[in-house]
Amino acid sequence: MELIIVANQTIQTRKVFPLKTLYYGNEARNKEGLKGRLIIVEGIDGSGKSTQIHLLEQWLRSRNIAVFLTEWNSSDMVKQITSKGKKKGKLTPTTFSLLHATDFADRYERKILPLLRAGYIVLADRYVYTAFARDIVRGCSRNWVYKVYSYALKPDLTFYFKVPIDVAVERILVGRPKLKYYEAGMDLNLSNDPYESYRIFQQRIIDEYDVMAQDEGFAVIDGTSAIEEQQAQVRDLVKSIIPRNQRKILESELISVGVQA
């Protein structure tokens, strides 16, 4: 018997736990004395966030500040184990969500948390908010997804790169003949046309991001402005949240090529 899975068409009620109360992780910050800082970027594909976090990483590295960059869905161990299963069958929204949660947990337990304890500046290209947006759009229970990630530390700084859907879609599709099944959100039955499906899927994710941006106090960056301008804004904000000794290092050096730091 086939299970019939329908996309969650109805708008979910907004009666939700406030996200802030769910981060047990923040107690860990005080208890374990985390010296590092966690800075993350969010935004849909094509919003330019990866470019910006790469530039941020290079900047910090050039100043000899201990920095570590981690990307979404990048744990080798998890990938190795799930790639076989992914080929075998279609994933349901719950299994899709849990596999990403496993990947995140692996990176969190083995890298993000230990490095924060060691005083690193940890940069994450996508964080729990990506899971929230995607899983909720796929129809998982909002409160459930929040709770699955409730052990994760709240970032010190979250950048949200906001771009209109048309701009992002164009950036992504240039020179790309094919979209992957899950990437296009084809499992949601939004449209038979992968491009149309992709567009609707991404728009729904933007809607989720917009809600979280307010609730969670994201630093919203206009992703359509010049790359240098965006980076200058990013660096300014980063300086405001890092420990004083590191801030001094970043402020002391003035030679920069075209970027007002």
Binding site: I5, I81, L91, W144, K147
Partner: protein, 279 residues
């Protein structure tokens, strides 16, 4: 069976429309009472899924499960698997269609978990989520479809083992409970309660060696494997006792012989099926 189902469905439908018709006028109270009785009866036979949390929100609401989910929990070497195969034979002989399921058996990552345990040092939460994904895959692709088709699903362990393992590894119980909010509530959950000192003899009879994880060696309880096993199994047993009330686990004295336990289980399952189906 099928003709009864059809008849029942038909009856309910007419009664529901009747109720709708009579309700605004609010006159024939007798009808309403009768209607309730039928609906209750209906609910006993086929039910909308009950979950520990929000459930699987994207499944259609009209998923009706006519089958029954029966879980047997218990430590390794407690005799779960042999009990299940006997129960399956017996139920099939009685004309019930049976499907069995267990942990780490999903196509998605069942094999992967073993591989991961062999090759990597996994974080406790990572391992926990791996198991959850494996379980979710089986729940959605095997258990629920079978229950919809009217099968009796015999589960060789369920979320309780996973939650107990997590709790022993200092993962918050609240978190585990929330994690399994998508899990279906079984109709019956048995827990084979075996004294760890008895258990270790059975483990040796079975394997002649102690499994790394089943001895809780990852927890660093003791340098000595034997001692670690006893300590770990005691912790798990404690956790199961703790869950007993909350999750309505039925403790079964597992220190008896296989035959005795089997008679006990079959009687309980028989009673349940009789009350559920024959009513």
């Amino acid at each position: 069976m099928t003709s009864r189902t059809r008849l029942r469905k038909g009856t309910t439908k007419t009664l529901v429309t009747q109720r709708r018709r009579t309700r605004p006028a609010d006159k024939e109270e007798v009808d309403d009472v009768y209607d309730m009785r039928i609906t209750m009866d209906e609910a006993r036979r086929s039910r909308s899924p009950l979950y520990y949390g929000d459930g699987i929100t994207y499944l259609q609401n009209d998923t009706h499960l006519t089958g029954k989910l029966i879980v047997i929990e218990g430590p390794d070497a407690s005799g779960r698997t042999s009990q299940i195969s006997v129960i399956q034979q017996r139920l099939e002989a009685d004309g019930h269609a049976v499907v069995t399921t267990g942990l780490r058996r999903s196509e998605l990552i069942g094999e992967g978990i073993l591989e991961a345990k062999r090759n990597f040092v996994l974080g406790r939460r990572t391992l926990s989520l791996f198991y959850a994904a494996d379980f979710a895959d089986q729940l959605e692709n095997k258990i629920i479809p079978a229950l919809r088709a009217g099968y009796i699903v015999l589960a060789d362990r369920y979320i309780f083992t996973l939650m107990a393992r997590d709790a022993v590894r200092k993962i918050s119980r609240t978190w585990s409970h929330a994690l399994y909010g998508f899990a279906l509530k079984p109709d019956l959950v048995f827990y084979l309660d075996v004294d760890p000192n008895e258990l270790i003899h059975r483990v040796f009879q079975k394997n002649f060696s102690l499994d790394y994880y089943e001895s809780g060696a990852d927890l660093g309880l003791s340098e000595d494997m034997f001692e670690s096993f006893i300590k770990y199994q005691n912790m798990l047993a404690k956790e199961f006792h703790r869950m007993q009330k909350k999750y309505k686990l039925i403790p079964i004295d597992g220190n008896r012989t296989i035959e005795e336990i089997n008679t006990d289980l079959l009687k309980r399952i028989g009673d349940f099926l009789y009350s559920a189906i024959a009513k």
